[in-house]
Symmetry: C2
Subunit: 259 residues, 2 copies
């Protein structure tokens, strides 16, 4: 996010992109004044850029005068590989798991020190969860996150262990204990959490491994399920997840990035 | 899509947006030369704009040197109201219909003279369908399209009737017959098609009506289901769709655009 100060040296493209950067999940609808402030753009420049971005369809102007992300950016976003090559391909497998369990099912990939939630299937009878598609949550506090962290490069693990945030009173933040848990995840092939990200829910997750033509398998994603904590049968869900994860892994192996 | 000629008079923002415009569902991965050609941008300018767009995250560069849509645009696209206010809210209801029927379920909105597919749930045992999220299909040839066309303004109906494209030998393209079908849809409250968009599949669809505080109900979307043509029980699916459509309609009525 750009700061609040104007930067006359920025290129025109950078200014237009800074206007788009003003929008985020917490602020999907903004007024002209808010956009100018958040992007550090003079009001008249912001007004002109908004007109260009709106005419193209990147933004649209609501009846109440506020701006929001337009359909053109939604369209372009659907072309991103995370959508085109992973989400679309994995969705039927997540649906299989949901059909078998009725619980909330997630697919996440690692993005730096966070788990990025790429797809979610959640029925109206499923337990409410904090994550939605596009959410980023800490690697050490979620089931899918622990799976992703267990296969991450050492420097990523070191970075997470250096400052693990606490999300609930039950979040494991002791670096030695997280390290032991990651060793367990590597050994048994799945991770679990209990109220570490949000109270009242537990989760279990497995890696999505992709066999490559060279260099052995890689963990491309993590598949997880979230249930209410009163359920005592978390381990029973592991085989269900494993079957789906293997299906996703085989489908991914046929896509260009892994061939 | 911009033409192939360079236009030195275009603003820098317009040039950057033209670079993004080079990408579409048929061409999600492009080389520098292709982008320059499709956007009508000189190669050196395209190169500089690509560097800026890639640094920001709008695009990313693949190992093979081609460019694709980056995660930043995917993130921003998730903030569009079609996603935030419609898709996310409707998804559990589509899942209910899929759980009850195991068929492919669609949610579409009208965009000009086309049906824009906003959400889809499709299992691995469902019949293969041409539409996916973000697809646009003709209003007169699809179940959801006929529902949307039946409640569209007269000028939209006139525009569609003026030049209805043929997608299969069974597509209804006779304006008088389309008009009669639309009258039927308005009267009985649902639409059906048989092999009009793709051979081997039939569909049935109902409107998602939203009650507004003032001005009566509006058709905000259409909910449809696609089955193999050998199935003879299409009409049986109408009540299932209607229950889900009412649920979506009530949920939508609580969102800002309709309050």
């Amino acid at each position: 996010m750009a700061g609040g100060s104007t930067s006359p040296g920025r290129s025109v493209t950078a200014r237009a992109l800074a206007v788009l950067d003003a929008f985020d999940a917490d602020s999907p609808r903004l007024t002209l004044t808010e956009i100018a402030g958040r992007s550090g753009t003079p009001l008249t420049t912001a007004h002109r850029l908004l007109a260009e971005l709106t005419a193209w369809g990147a933004l649209s102007r609501r009846a109440d005068g506020r701006y929001e992300i337009g359909r053109k950016l939604w369209d372009l976003g659907l072309l991103a590989p995370v959508q085109l090559e992973l989400r679309q391909l994995a969705a039927p497998f997540l649906l299989d798991v949901h059909t078998a369990t009725r619980d909330t099912v997630h697919l996440a990939v690692r993005e730096g020190t966070q788990a990025l939630y790429v797809e979610r299937i959640s029925g109206r009878e499923s337990v409410p969860v904090v994550s939605q598609v596009g959410s980023r949550l800490p690697l050490h506090a979620t089931g899918v996150g622990k799976v992703l962290l267990a296969s991450a490069p050492d420097e990523v693990v070191a970075q997470v262990l250096a400052a693990p945030e606490r999300a609930t009173p039950y979040t494991v933040v002791d670096p030695a204990r997280i390290s032991r848990e990651l060793a367990d995840v590597r050994r048994r092939g799945w991770a679990r959490t209990a109220e570490e990200m949000s109270l009242g829910t537990a989760s279990v997750a497995v890696p999505v491994r992709v066999e490559r033509a060279e260099g052995g398998p890689v963990v491309a994603a993590a598949l997880g399920i979230v249930v209410p904590t009163h359920r005592r049968d978390l381990a029973r869900l592991v085989p269900v997840l494993e079957v789906a994860a293997r299906g996703i892994g085989r489908a991914l192996a046929r896509t260009t990035p892994f061939r």
